[in-house]
Amino acid sequence: MTAVIDPVTSPDAEHAVLTVRGLGVTVRDVALVRDVDLTIGPGERVGLIGESGSGKSMTALGIMGLLPEDVTATGSVRLTGVEHDLIGADERALSRVRGRDVAMVFQEPMTALNPTMRVGDQVAEAMLIHRTEPNRRAAQASAVDRLDRVGLPDPIQAARAYPHQLSGGQQQRVVVAIALANDPALLVCDEPTTALDVTVQALVLDLIVRGVTARNSAMLFITHDLAVVATVCQRVLVMYGGRVVEAGRVDQVFTRPRHRYTQGLIGASDLEVVDSRGRLATIAGSVPAAGSFPVGCVFRNRCNHSTELCKIPPDWTGPDSANGFACHHPAGLSNV
C-alpha cells in the first residue's frame, strides 16, 4: 500500500548520550518497570507516553537514581561523559552527575521550587553546586541572565521574588532555567506542562525545545498528551504495564500504530470519531494496580484482539530497540 518508511537508525552506543539497557524497577518483589531499553543521541528528543500508572515516571526516576528508598532499580544506565554506570552508583557519585550531566523538569512548578528561597538564589544555587560559576556574586548575575533568557519579564525583580509571587507559567520557566543552568547533556522532562494552562503550555514547550536545541542536548520527554509528543519529539516510546510496548518515529507510530494499545491510545485521542450513541472511543477497563498486570502480554485483559496466544509474552518485533513493537496480533495487518 504505502512505501515502507525507513526505520530511524537508533544512535549507536558509542555516540549515544543516554544508553539504558534492561532497566527494571522493583518495589518489594513487585515489578513496576521491566526490561526497558532506550538510547538517545545528541540533540534527539524522545517521547515516553502511556497512561498514568504505566511506569513512565518510575523509568525517569530510575534513570536519575532518584527512586524512593524501598524501590530498587536493576539493569544499566550509561550517560555520555560519565565513567560509571548510574545504576548502583553511590549517592555521592550520583550527585556529581545530577544537575550537571542530566537535569530534570518536574510536573508541578508550584511544588518544584522551595517556597522559602528567592527564585534567583535557587537558580544561582544550581550553578554553584557544580561550580559552573566561581562565586555567589557571579552566580547571582548569571541567574538574572538565565531568567531573562527564559523570558521572565523584569528578570532583576523576578530574581528577588519568592516562588509564590510568580504565576504557574513563570514558575515553570524558572524550573526550566534551573534545569538548563549547567547545560546538561540530557534533559528529562516529567510532564512539564500538565499543570499549566493550554496557552502557557505552548510557550513553555517552545522554551524547552529551544533550550535543548541550542545546547544540542538530548531530551527524554514524559507525557500522556499525544499532541505534545507530536509537536516536541522526533521519536516515541509507548509504555504500558511497565514495559515498552511500541517504539518508533513519531509520524510512523502515530499514523500507523502496530501495538493494539498504541492503536487504542490514538483512537481515544481522536475527538471526531464517535460510536453510534455519540460516545468517544475509549480503551475498555482501567490500568490495573502495579503487580496485578496479567501474565504474558500485559495488555491482554483490556485488548479486543487477545487470544490464548497472548498468555505467552510477545517478543519484540523490529530491527532494534528504537523501532518495533511487542504484540502477537499487531494492527496494520489483516486481523489475525
Partner: protein, 289 residues
C-alpha cells in the same frame, strides 16, 4: 489557575494565610511582652533591693510603700516578683535553647536518613519521652548540686523528645515535596538539602514548639524551685517564693497569691502565644500555598 504569562511580578502580594491576627496571638503576645518588660525593668530599677532583709518591716500588708507587701524576712514582694521574672525568662531561654539545638537536628536527621535508622532514633526518643522531666531534673539536682543551671539543662534535655518528634513529622512532609526531589536532581548533597531546604520549611514548627516548650520550662522551674531543687537563695524565683509562703498560707495568703499569679499568667501567656502562632503557621495551610 495560572494567570497569563506576561503578568508582571508582584513582589508585595502576600502569602495566603489565615487571618493576620487572632485573639490568642494578641493576648499571648501582650502577656509575654509584659514578662519581658518586667525583666528588663528589673535590671534598671526595683522599688527596693529584693534581697535586703529588714526585721522591722516583716509581713507588712499592701501599702503605698510596699504595693505587694513584704515577706517574713521583710523583703519587698514586688521587687522579688520583678527580679523573679528574670530567672523565669533565663531558665526558659536556656532550657528551650538546649531542647531546640539538640531536638531540631535530631528530628531532621531522623526524617532524612534511611527509614530504619529514623525509626530507631524515634524509638530511642520515645524512651526519653516516657521519662518524667521532673524526675530527670531531681536526678540532675542530686548528682550535680541544685542550681538554676542544672535545672535548666535537665528541663532542656527533657524537652528534646517533643522537639525531635514535631520537627521530624514536619521534615518528613518536606522530604516528600518535589522541591527536595528537584534539589536532589540538581545534585544537592543531603547536608545542604537539610540546611537549605528542610530547615527553613519547618521553621514555623520550630517557632510554635519553642513557645509551647517555654511554658513547660517556666512551670518546671517553678516546680523545682518549690521543691528546693531549682534556683537557690538568695536569687529571687517565683517557685521559691511559693515555697517560702507555705507556712504562712493562712496568716498571709497574699505571699502565695502574687508569685502564684505571676507563674500562672506567664505560663498562660506562652501557651496562648504558642496556640496563636500555630494557627498562624498551620502546616496544613503551608501545603496549599
Amino acid at each position: 489557575m495560572s494567570s497569563p504569562d506576561d503578568v508582571v511580578v508582584q513582589p508585595n502580594s502576600d502569602r495566603r494565610r489565615g487571618p493576620r491576627l487572632n485573639p490568642s496571638l494578641v493576648v499571648g503576645g501582650v502577656i509575654v511582652m509584659c514578662v519581658v518588660l518586667m525583666a528588663l525593668v528589673s535590671f534598671a530599677w526595683t522599688p527596693y533591693d529584693p534581697t535586703r532583709v529588714d526585721a522591722t518591716q516583716r509581713l507588712l500588708g499592701s501599702s503605698a510603700k510596699h504595693w505587694f507587701g513584704t515577706d517574713k524576712f521583710g523583703r519587698d514582694v514586688l521587687s522579688q516578683i520583678l527580679m523573679g521574672s528574670r530567672t523565669t525568662l533565663f531558665v526558659g531561654l536556656v532550657a528551650v535553647g538546649v531542647a531546640a539545638v539538640i531536638g531540631v537536628p535530631l528530628g531532621i536527621l531522623a526524617a532524612m536518613t534511611t527509614r530504619r535508622l529514623g525509626e530507631l532514633l524515634m524509638r530511642g526518643n520515645d524512651l526519653l519521652l516516657a521519662f518524667p522531666a521532673l524526675l530527670l531534673a531531681i536526678m540532675f539536682g542530686a548528682v550535680y548540686n541544685a542550681s538554676t543551671l542544672t535545672a535548666m539543662i535537665a528541663i532542656g534535655i527533657a524537652s528534646v523528645p517533643n522537639f525531635a518528634r514535631v520537627i521530624r513529622s514536619g521534615a518528613l512532609q518536606v522530604m516528600g515535596t518535589e522541591y527536595v526531589l528537584a534539589a536532589r536532581s540538581a545534585g544537592r548533597r543531603p547536608f545542604a538539602i537539610g540546611v537549605r531546604h528542610v530547615l527553613p520549611n519547618v521553621s514555623s514548627l520550630i517557632i510554635v514548639q519553642t513557645s509551647v516548650s517555654f511554658a513547660i520550662a517556666v512551670l518546671a522551674e517553678a516546680a523545682l524551685s518549690f521543691l528546693g531543687l531549682g534556683t537557690p537563695p538568695p536569687t529571687p524565683s517565683w517557685g521559691r517564693m511559693l515555697l517560702e509562703s507555705q507556712e504562712m498560707l493562712y496568716s498571709a495568703p497574699r505571699l502565695a497569691i502574687f508569685p502564684g499569679l505571676a507563674i500562672a499568667v506567664a505560663v498562660l501567656g506562652f501557651n496562648l502565644l504558642g496556640d496563636g502562632l500555630r494557627d498562624r503557621f498551620d502546616p496544613k495551610l503551608e501545603d496549599r500555598r
